[in-house]
């Protein structure tokens, strides 16, 4: 886009800028409904929780650096261990994937001007912020949960965990679950209805298939967790009995409900990473994805099959043989769609002409780490092997390879990849590569020895170990690795932070990207696209005739929605243009609804039932306020 914009086109762009610009200053950010701003808010808030979870991890590793250390008391260790897992999963990896990357990029990739429900989008963010704060109020007041992120009963019941820590855990997760559910609904409706007319499903980027799969998985998985948490709180706060055997309850009920959510959750964690990988690879190897339809199908299948395998987390519980055998078989089936994607990526890299720049390096690292994590995961389907290695460091190794290696590496690669688009500046490539290698080496030094420790019998969640166990050397290596890993991550963020101010200016498309977001400015204007883009394939940016037609349309005012705050809505599969939608602008209601909700949860935690009822009434009023102003009246 180096040609100077002709005057008629420029006038259109100016008018659109005036229509779509949000209120200035802090108030503008507090009342924003712009998906890009909301994505940025999610990004920084998630990173804050990443830092908190990282501090917790370093505390754990420092305590375990040698035998019989007393850096942390057992109580503090158990709190660190519990908040580390809870924070990383619920307040970092899912929000940054769905809320930051998803929110920012989905409308851009489908040629839309915002998400389907912009105010709901803002509400999702404010609820996330309030829920995370809620949990950490507990942590900082000495009431952190300490029964693990999986919170098994009876340990998590009132009798064995009498303090409010578990209530902070349960209520903050119910709270953030609302945010995630709303975000998933928003993503699904956006992907189905707001695609640019002409972008039929087979012309939609793979990134969007991954996010569609994630969102559907969240819709059906989260209620299982919510059920478990509601039952737990009814038991803890109101004396109901669901899990206590003496009163007819069942401890295993918790495990079933938790893992019916928990297993799909791990696919929810990894699918966005798959989506990011499928965006970065074609760009940097300069060829289309091998077996594109198979990859799209595989992304959907992973989400779907993830629902049938939950009891493989429970092989030591004493289930009937037939049950364990079924779940082992089902767990093996999931390997297939993962294998298809893996080999498609690898074949695409081999058959393309790859430029090994920073974003691609992170994806290569991801592929290597994902294979390792996947292989150790497959070993769990060998039930006798699982019954030896479950609850040991072998599991800790496995899931850190897949969650950290396979889910976080693409996020870091994606941060580098889209950094120029979001900020308008390039990051420092040399530091980028260095930060990758530091992190990659640190990851392996930290987590690889854990396989060996687990096979050697070291159980997980132990706050210390004896010098006679022979676990000392490997634990020392792991702790040093953790510090190296922290250094690597720090170098990523220092690079990005410094580049934010000192990086070279980036144009619209510094990498030769394949998807639509690279056709607009860096950063994109508030209205994303002046013209509804013409789309003939999933690689819209590489269809140069289409992009030239867009430029002509801008000049002539064709397919330009400029009568108001508008975007196009289309049919779900074939994307035939169906409606012109009016989008809302700045609104104070989302943060107000979130605050009212916080009041409800806080009063429930404090068991102030009358006050909770008052806050429910306030909540209903704020929700009503949300709907007071209709689009016609804007």
């Amino acid at each position: 886009m180096t040609v100077a914009t002709p005057p008629a086109a420029k006038a259109r762009l100016d008018r659109l800028e005036r229509i779509w610009k949000e209120s200035p200053g802090v108030l503008g950010w507090l009342t924003t409904v712009d998906h890009k701003r909301i994505g940025i808010l999610y990004f920084f808030t998630s990173l804050f929780f990443f830092g908190a979870g990282g501090v917790e991890a370093l505390a754990i590793r420092t305590q375990l650096i040698g035998p019989d250390e007393s850096t942390l008391s057992p109580a503090t260790f158990n709190e660190m261990m519990s908040t580390h897992g809870t924070t990383m999963i619920f307040f970092f990896v899912v929000p940054i994937s769905l809320g930051a990357f998803g929110n920012y990029l989905i409308p851009l990739m489908i040629g839309a001007r915002d998400m389907a429900f912009p105010r709901l989008n803002a509400l999702s963010y404010w609820i996330f912020l309030c829920a995370g704060t809620f949990l950490y109020v507990g942590v900082f007041t000495g009431n952190a949960p300490s029964a693990g992120w999986f919170n098994y009963v009876p340990l998590a019941s009132k009798a064995y965990s009498p303090g409010p820590g578990i209530d902070f855990y349960a209520l903050s997760l119910l709270f953030v679950g609302i945010s995630t559910t709303l975000g998933a609904i928003n993503a699904i409706v956006t992907i189905f209805k707001l695609r640019a007319p002409g972008m039929s499903l087979n012309r939609m980027p793979l990134f969007c298939f991954a996010f569609l799969a994630v969102s559907f998985a969240l819709i059906f998985a989260l209620p299982a967790l919510s059920t478990a948490l509601i039952l737990l709180e009814l038991e803890r706060l109101l004396g109901f009995h669901f899990f206590i055997p003496a009163a007819g309850g069942a401890p295993i009920l918790w495990q079933n409900l938790f893992w019916i959510f928990g297993h799909p959750e791990v696919y929810i964690i990894i699918l966005p990473a798959f989506g990011i990988a499928t965006s970065i690879i074609p760009t940097f190897v300069r060829r289309k994805m091998v077996a594109w339809p198979l990859v799209a199908l595989a992304e959907i299948l992973v989400a779907f099959l993830g629902f049938g395998v939950w009891a493989h987390h429970m092989f030591a519980v004493g289930l009937a043989s037939a049950t364990t055998i079924y779940f082992a078989a089902a767990s093996l089936i999931i390997v297939i769609p993962s294998g298809i994607q893996l080999f498609s990526w690898i074949t695409t890299i081999v058959t393309g002409t790859p430029r090994f720049q920073t974003p691609l390096l992170w994806i290569i690292g991801f592929i290597v780490l994902f294979i390792m994590g996947g292989l150790s995961g497959v070993t769990f389907a060998a039930i006798p092997f699982d019954q030896q290695t479950t609850d040991t460091y072998y599991v800790v190794a496995h899931f850190h390879y897949v969650i950290f290696g396979a889910a976080v590496f693409p996020l870091l690669g994606g941060m580098y990849y889209w950094f120029p688009k979001v900020t308008g500046r390039m990051y420092h490539e040399g530091w980028g590569k260095a930060s990758f290698w530091l992190t990659f080496i640190g990851t392996n030094v930290t987590f690889f020895p854990m396989h060996i420790l687990g096979l050697d019998g070291m159980p997980r969640r132990n706050y210390t170990y004896g010098p006679e166990m022979g676990w000392t050397g490997l634990n020392l290596i792991e702790t040093l690795g953790a510090y190296l890993l922290a250094l690597g991550l720090l170098s990523v963020f220092v690079n990005l932070a410094v580049s934010l101010f000192k990086g070279e200016k980036a144009g619209n498309d510094p990498f030769g990207g394949d998807t639509l977001e690279w056709s607009t400015t860096s950063p994109p204007p508030p209205y994303n696209y002046a013209v509804i883009p013409k789309v003939s394939s999933p690689y819209a940016m590489w269809d140069t005739e289409d992009r030239e037609e867009d430029a002509r349309n801008l000049e002539r005012g064709r397919k330009v929605l400029e009568q108001g705050h508008e975007t196009a809505a289309s049919t779900a599969v074939d994307a035939e243009w169906d409606e012109v939608l009016d989008m809302p602008s700045n609104s104070a209601w989302p943060p107000l609804v979130a605050l009212a909700m916080t009041g409800v949860f806080a009063m429930v935690l404090l068991q102030q039932w009358f006050a909770a009822a008052i806050f429910v009434a306030v909540l209903l009023c704020t929700v009503a306020g949300f709907h007071l102003k209709e689009p016609e009246e804007a």
């Binding site: 008391s73 057992p74 109580a75 158990n78 029964a147 693990g148 098994y152 009876p154 340990l155 064995y160 055997p245 069942a250 401890p251 295993i252 091998v290 077996a291 198979l294 030591a316 004493g318 043989s321 055998i325 082992a328 078989a329 093996l332 390997v335 297939i336 294998g339 298809i340 893996l342 080999f343 498609s344 690898i346 074949t347 081999v350 058959t351 002409t353 790859p354 430029r355 090994f356 592929i367 290597v368 294979i371 390792m372 292989l375 497959v378 389907a381 060998a382 039930i383 006798p384 092997f385 019954q387 030896q388 479950t390 609850d391 040991t392 019998g457 159980p459 997980r460 132990n462 706050y463």
Partner: protein, 290 residues
């Protein structure tokens, strides 16, 4: 499994290396740019070969091997032991023999034993890595596995399900011994506690019964019938204390009863603050309980 996994991993890494080496040439080595070949590769390596490997893995481990780890059928073994997990120790009962101990299991070598596991409070997991798989102890139900040692020796076990503050210090030992030695040990276990033989030990027994210990511990043949803590009837015959946390010597025993929280913070045993003289007496009594 390690072999197959290594082959898969190295194979994939090799392909990535090929990608790096051939980074300026599009297409596959030898086959060139051929979308059909690419797709066949993906289906072959991503679907066909994995299916074969996975089916083999499934058949071998879950259909052939798995039944060997099953719990023994009821009544098929000569001996049944019930182990109950507590926060943070293991209660061990020999069924039908009126014999109980804690944190130690003795079994005759090369004899299958039906091990039933239960829980008195939260979920624990019974695990002797060298002998068998893990089995969770779940309140409200009884699980079972087979305990069988081919060779005589001492096997360490530990709790393998997070159970609270001192989950890390909830280990135990399994002694597999020749049948004669086992029978002798069991016979001794069935006997009530030995009488104290010295004045200090007698003083210790009085303190034990009156100053709080008896509220939580059982010493069979005395008025101590508490069930909160481990059975101490033959404490001096054991090799470790506090669930294999410290050795069972008079020095450690003194340190333990004087201040359990210093050794195992959070443990449910309080420091009773009885003063060194009384503690020495109690130690003298307990070290006589062989």
């Amino acid at each position: 499994m390690l072999g197959v996994a290594s082959i898969v991993f190295l194979g994939a890494v090799a392909m990535l290396v090929v990608g790096w080496v051939r980074r300026d040439r599009p297409g596959l080595p030898f086959l060139g740019e051929n979308e059909k070949a690419n797709t066949i590769l993906v289906v072959l390596f991503g679907m066909a070969i994995p299916i074969v490997i996975l089916v083999a893995l499934f058949v071998i481990s879950d259909l052939v091997l798995l039944p060997e780890t099953d719990a023994p059928a009821a009544g098929s073994t000569a001996m049944t032991i019930t182990v109950t997990g507590h926060q943070w120790f293991w209660q061990v009962r020999y069924e039908g023999k009126d014999a109980e101990t804690a944190n130690e299991i003795h079994i005759p070598v090369r004899t299958p034993v039906n091990l039933q596991v239960r829980s008195a409070d939260v979920i624990h997991s019974f695990w002797v890595p060298e002998l068998n798989r893990k089995i969770d102890t779940i309140p409200g139900q009884t699980n079972a596995i087979e305990l069988y040692a081919e060779r005589a020796g001492v096997y360490r076990g530990q709790c393998a399900e997070f159970c609270g503050l001192q989950h890390a210090h909830m280990a135990f030992r399994v002694y597999a011994e020749p049948k004669a030695r086992f029978e002798a040990w069991l016979a001794n276990l069935r006997k009530p506690a030995r009488e104290p033989t010295t004045p200090l030990a007698r003083q210790g027994r009085r303190a034990f019964m009156r100053d709080g210990c008896a509220a939580c511990h059982t010493i069979s043949g005395t008025e101590a019938e508490g069930t909160v803590g481990p059975n101490l009837t033959h404490l001096a015959g054991r090799e470790t204390l506090a669930a294999d946390t410290i050795p069972d010597t008079p020095e450690y025993l003194f340190r333990w009863i004087q201040n359990p929280q210093a050794i195992k913070p959070g443990v449910k045993m309080p420091g009773l603050g009885l003063g060194p003289a009384k503690f020495h007496a109690i130690v003298a009594y307990l070290t006589g309980l062989k």
